[in-house]
Symmetry: C2
Subunit: 212 residues, 2 copies
DNA sequence: GGTTTCGGTGGACAGTCGTACACTGAAAGT
DNA sequence: ACTTTCAGTGTACGACTGTCCACCGAAACC
């Protein structure tokens, strides 16, 4: 049986392969503790390269962190694309959105963990990048909400405020799910709470009237 | 002029004084980066003691972290005591609660920063301690809400879910305020958003009916 | 007043840290 | 075929890490 892909790896491919290994190693190591607490040498050892070889790929651990932020949010974007797909006015929009969130938390567990940690404790540049990305999510959500029936009388400001509240609640839900990893009954409870919260917020929204 | 308090400091007092200095130094050092990323020697240097003297007060940096959690939440408890004081059914309950929160974030800035960071990125024991304390807050808030008019028909479960949502939003508000330190106009905007969010949630609550 | 307690000292240790430097060898470019 | 590029190597450095140990001196105790 012939190997399907054994052409002897071009140089750029080898480099990309090592770069991936570094990203994975950093993600793995920062799983316990923080990016700010892991050393270049630990990463290099885990990858199987000599410490100085690290610099062929990143200027510093901080730069590595920014690359991980990009990667993590790229996968998050596929998530909201999944949520957007389908009838936006569907009645079960709450259940479906939270379902997608839960699925992605499991599928991209390490990315969510990384963002949750570094959002609060990462290097300043990393924190700022994450904050910016979350703000983008809020803006997109506000635009989506504006297309929903019943929000005609809402001010832009109130749409943003509501989006911020929803995103905050969803981030907290993701963090809770991660913190009970491996205890499915507790997770079920958290998911059910998230559904109820989202419904409460939407009930509040439907009865809300923006100030003029 | 006679010095008011210069009796030559008893031993226990000296020890307590050093202990405080260690806690303050740790709080100060973890301001940039994390508890997990600071070293025993850094703390000792900042306090002005020799590294090994640290062990006279704490077994490890983690133990220090737990002490800081206790301290930070002790000051938070004075905050909710302030909020509770006064007519619980007052119409401006939202404005007053958020006002107290904002005041305390400024007064206890370092404690809030510490909790925000270590909640997500601290040593496991520290994370667990913080999570537990926040859960206690949720329980207390649920009890307070139960005494409010209009919640008679609410199930205990829904009260807890609502409390969780409110606490989550308030934690996020505190974090936002901390992240814009020194820019009063942005802070004003965040505070105004928090007020609106809390009102939205309460509108949702007043129109909510628990399932039987 | 003699003894005990104990917060703090100072030196030494085996590791780990980031980074500088000169290098190798194979792929890429010509 | 000859040269250049460059991911990865190996050594070496001074600085910093947690912790062990014997020691001090003044407050606390009896």
């Amino acid at each position: 049986m012939p190997e399907p892909s054994e052409p002897p790896l071009r140089r750029v491919e080898r480099k990309e392969r090592t770069r991936r290994a570094i990203l994975d190693a950093a993600l793995d190591l920062s799983d316990e503790s923080t990016l700010a607490a892991i050393s270049l040498r630990q990463v290099a050892k885990q990858v199987g390269i000599v410490p100085t070889a690290f610099y062929r790929h990143f200027d510093s651990i901080d730069a590595l962190g920014l690359a991980l932020v990009d990667e993590a949010f790229a996968s998050l974007r596929t998530m909201i694309r999944d949520i957007r797909r389908g009838d936006p006015a569907l009645a079960d929009i709450v259940d479906r959105s939270i379902g997608v969130l839960v699925d992605h938390v499991h599928l991209q567990r390490e990315h969510f963990l990384f963002i949750a940690r570094e959002r609060a404790a990462g290097p300043p540049g990393v924190r700022e990048a994450i904050r910016h990305q979350i703000e983008l999510f809020e803006r997109e959500l506000a635009a989506d909400l504006a297309r929903l029936p019943g929000t005609d009388a809402w001010s832009d400001e109130d749409l943003r405020v509501l989006s911020n509240l929803i995103v905050t609640a969803m981030v907290a839900t993701a963090e809770s799910i991660l913190s009970v990893a491996g205890r499915p009954d507790e997770e079920k409870q958290i998911v059910e709470q998230a559904r109820t919260q989202l419904r409460m917020v939407l009930v509040g929204a439907l009865n809300w009237r923006s100030k003029p």
